[in-house]
Symmetry: D2
Subunit: 139 residues, 4 copies
Amino acid sequence: MLALGREVLALQPFSVLLGSELLVFTSALTEIRIPVRPDFLQQHGFVHGGVVSYAADNALTYAGGGALGFAVVTSEFKINYVRPAKGQWLIARASVIHSGKTQAVCRCDVFASDSGVEKLCAVAQGTIALLSQPSEPKI
Amino acid sequence: MLALGREVLALQPFSVLLGSELLVFTSALTEIRIPVRPDFLQQHGFVHGGVVSYAADNALTYAGGGALGFAVVTSEFKINYVRPAKGQWLIARASVIHSGKTQAVCRCDVFASDSGVEKLCAVAQGTIALLSQPSEPKI
Amino acid sequence: MLALGREVLALQPFSVLLGSELLVFTSALTEIRIPVRPDFLQQHGFVHGGVVSYAADNALTYAGGGALGFAVVTSEFKINYVRPAKGQWLIARASVIHSGKTQAVCRCDVFASDSGVEKLCAVAQGTIALLSQPSEPKI
Amino acid sequence: MLALGREVLALQPFSVLLGSELLVFTSALTEIRIPVRPDFLQQHGFVHGGVVSYAADNALTYAGGGALGFAVVTSEFKINYVRPAKGQWLIARASVIHSGKTQAVCRCDVFASDSGVEKLCAVAQGTIALLSQPSEPKI
């Protein structure tokens, strides 16, 4: 499952651009890690919210994809930023809360790891849907 | 206001990485445009949701910043993806719905422009908060 | 369409309990009005957030139902409270932003009307889905 | 803390109307229980989404209030309905995920208890804010 998940990630040019890695991908947990680079920051030196929301979005999609199969898209999600993200790594951990036949509701916690200490920086919740047509979004 | 907004955007390395441009920045409307590059896509050839959510997040923050002043952060937002984003440009337009002293609630529509035709691809809603401490997130 | 919508509303015991009225129900706009009663308040004398979120939820569902047909449910929604709700009426106005075959994304504004003056008190955004099985939620 | 919480709940006419009970109120967990009555249903015989969202909203507010003090309001929340709510009781359990000086981000799970068996029917996430002025919303 992890090997297949990594293949899919390698097919996402934007995930490659950000250096996103899939560390864990089981039915219980998805963990995505992003090495923080200087060009991921905003003007105050913290990781830009757009990188944090990318991490949450992608981890949610994988979590849902693990339950529904790979042909899924994120329908929607919501994110609360709770702390500025500072450190060397961004780590997003997502799990399925409930899965039906065509969609899964998932939650995600995003942590910033600074010198080995993880701090929660955002929490997200969203819906992952099975692709109904070939002409839809992602994962 | 536009000139100042562009200066701030130029100070965000992640916005520079994505080539994000601030086209309109008034108290009524914020418009951010991103030129779609091949490395912004996902595996089906559409713009990655992470780029779409970055665009929404940043436009919401600017809209709120226009009402509250520049020392603001996105507290939270929610996004619904309604159509795969395909085209040469991603355009996010955001407005303030209600602004208090310390926070503003804003909405944003994200369009993909393909050969000059714009199609709505996502809608977002979120809260922008005045920074209470110097040590907090972004814009 | 309005007559049918009112029949459905009359079949919802909770909507009857709250005295909810469907004023407008077209493909462009759904308007639901609730007469504020003393037992709808919270301890500071404002309309309880639960009544406001009921109004938003129901108006969103109707808006989506107008696009998708009556066998729909609210999958999810998000609400921002922007002002305490005070007055004689609560008015929720919802519209479809985008409708596919199986789900519609809608937005809603909730106003409190006090002595004839309407003030925005909440904004919401959510997903309405076509019922896949007979054994699912509401409207 | 539980006794004080119950006093506040008894001051909310809408919570009294719905028969809402505060079962647990500690810094770790808030549990609110609502006895399902026939007039809380929708037309398919399930508990109306408005009652479910009231339960989530109120539990989130209490959870945040436990961290921030009682003068709080729900700024915003998001709810995903995952299963029709059917049974004799609705039980909302909420916890604080992160609390700052002026706001707390909380999560809530809502269960329907049918003949003693609990099933998850909704999950929510939201922001509870300290009241800045005496003239604002609830709890």
